[in-house]
Amino acid sequence: MTKRRSEIQDTIENRDRIHVVMFFLSILFLALGVFIMVKIVQIQAGYHVDSSVVDLFRPRVQKHVDKPVRGRILATDGRPMAISAPLYDIRMDCTVRRQEFKDKNNQAGEDAWRAKAGELAKKLSAEFRDRSAAEYESAILKGREKGSRYLRIKNNIDLSTLNRLRTFPLFNEGPNKGGMIVERHEERIYPYDSLARRTIGYVKESNRIGLESSFDHVLHGREGYEWRRVTDRKTWIRDLDSASVKVIDGDDIRTTLNVDFQDIADKALREQIQADDEVRAGICIIMEAKTGAIRAMVNLSRGDTPQTVLWERDNLALREVGEQGSVMKTVTLVSLVEDGYVKTLDQTLPTNNGFVPGGYNQDVHILDYQRETGRRDITVMHGFEISSNYVFTWLAENYYGKKPQEMFDHIYSYRFGEPFDFDISGMGTPVVNRPGTAGWSKTTLGTTAYGYSMAVTPLHVATFYNALANKGRMMKPYLVESIERNGKVLKRFAPSELNSSICSPATADTVTRALRAVVNEGTATRLRSAKLAVAGKTGTARVVLSPEERGGSRDPYSDSYGRKKFQGTFVGFFPADNPKYTILVTVYSYPSHRNFYGGTKPAMAVRSIVDQLYALDPAWRPELVPSAALPQMKKEK
């Protein structure tokens, strides 16, 4: 009984203990709930951030974005043509420590700071030589008076200069005491300045051109990031607990451009057009015959006014679609020989006083020919040498007049009908007025035969001539030969064909003979004594003027003063017997009363280039083989 009572007593005591604990817990939670509710209302209604506390609540990690280093653009021998490196803008906070000295009434400190500013001014003046020491000192002290916190000291300085600046008085005390502000920005350096600048191109916010644009996905690389935290010693280190993405620098691209060739071509072209302010622009393409690799691409132009300096402003070689003139007679000749209509270059045709029936203009050169020779017929070869429009109109009308599509099929097979894939985007779209199109008329066939009524780019023309140099095999021009990372080739671009055979080797040989005759006896005799035998063709074309340029004239080729715009071209290959390079030079004029023939400035530029390449290219180095062995000297025993 007593035991039973004792058990009941224990149960009551246990219940009391549980009640007490539960009571306190419920009170605790109730108080906590009330506190939270009050706090929520307080925060929502009237909480203001205490700036002294903000720093304590700010996360102690920061996201740091790593920008990749843009890949380099290399010449074919590995010399860099575009490199990335940062440049720095220097600013100065002139107000540093001013308030501190004022608050502590420390005039001596202020005077010492100003004395250092004077020393700094002297050093800056000696470093940059753009302002006197007094001017620098005045600017800094005025900035201090006026409270300038961002005084411009110098823009775009390199790292070596920056490191020197960091040793100068005040600047060696850091940003908080010396006021030095350094702003870094990545810049592209072009060591060869304007050389091939338009081909290399650039990438700016709204403007992207050249290889820099076409291969931006390769050159750019991939940005990375990491989270950083501050250590007890106030240094920022990588936070290993957070995710990070490793930065991948851009890959390099190795171009086919040869810096020496580019330099020679640029200089030769400048020599011909620099002094002539009626020349608007000049271009040069040097292409390796076997592969189609472009070794030089020069695009010099003056812009809208003759007063502006020659500069690589626009890629005319790639974009300028125009009637090419007599250089296209070679196209007609290749078609005629290939189709068997011209069996030999000595084949003759009647001169007819330079008239072809059907609305064509008279060719006055034929009248001169008739007068000089007394003949009433002319060979195809001679017609080609003197670049007679009559001869090629007659040949086209006579052999393709009833089936013009046959000639245009050839033109399309030479890839003149469309822009082809190229390493730089923006290739001009050719205009070919074939039968059935709006531009077709009864004289289109004949005018196409001598280079009008059809507009193509200089690169199309160079590619065609390169095919002739290659015995009919048309190679696709290309500018990039590989993508590399740290010198290791990741991807190589092999030469490729546009057309494996535009004509038979026999046709190519026949036409090469005609091109050689142009240099020896025809319109390009300035190249006759070049150090390497050149085969090529000149072309002089009038350029259609815009309505603004015409100024009311009804002639599409001349303005109201009778001035005309010309483009003179020489295109060919060398050495003629075993071609290694194809070359094209075109000169464009402003509206002028003068003529700009392909046989003058362009041919002279080609001559200069060929002579210099002859001395430079290892392919033509003569070998000196000893005729006898040197006697071996032996020591007497």
Binding site: R79, P80, S84, S160, P191, D260, D263, P622
Partner: protein, 113 residues
């Protein structure tokens, strides 16, 4: 459990703490090795963490130094490449009054028989 028993427990704890007998009273001596092991682990963790911080700081400094070297290399490379271009060399020779010019004939290669 009553208020008096709670108060007694608190009072005894405070007394034990004052007399340095707290760990003995709760029989912590049984766990002495565990406590020491825990202490060692904590010390190791802190020490390793500090060393990692130091290493990472060094890595950061090295990266900055490498970056500076890369920039200097790029700048120097650009300067040197510009100086060695043919037209630049020709212009400098001309400025110095030298009669040296670009070759007009290719160099002859000497071949071994």
């Amino acid at each position: 459990m009553t208020f008096s028993s709670i108060w007694t427990a608190i009072r005894n704890t405070l007394k034990a703490l004052r007399n340095g007998e707290f760990l003995l009273r709760i029989r912590a001596d049984k766990y002495y090795m565990h406590i020491m092991y825990l202490f060692l682990l904590m010390w190791l963790t802190i020490m390793l963490s500090l060393r990692v911080d130091k290493t990472l700081a060094q890595v950061g400094e090295n990266k900055a130094a490498i970056e500076e070297l890369r920039i200097r290399h790029s700048e120097k490379e650009a300067e040197l490449v510009k100086l060695e271009s043919a037209s630049e060399t020709e212009a400098r020779l001309k400025k110095m009054g030298s009669a040296l010019a670009m070759p007009s004939v290719p160099a002859t290669i000497m071949k071994k028989k």
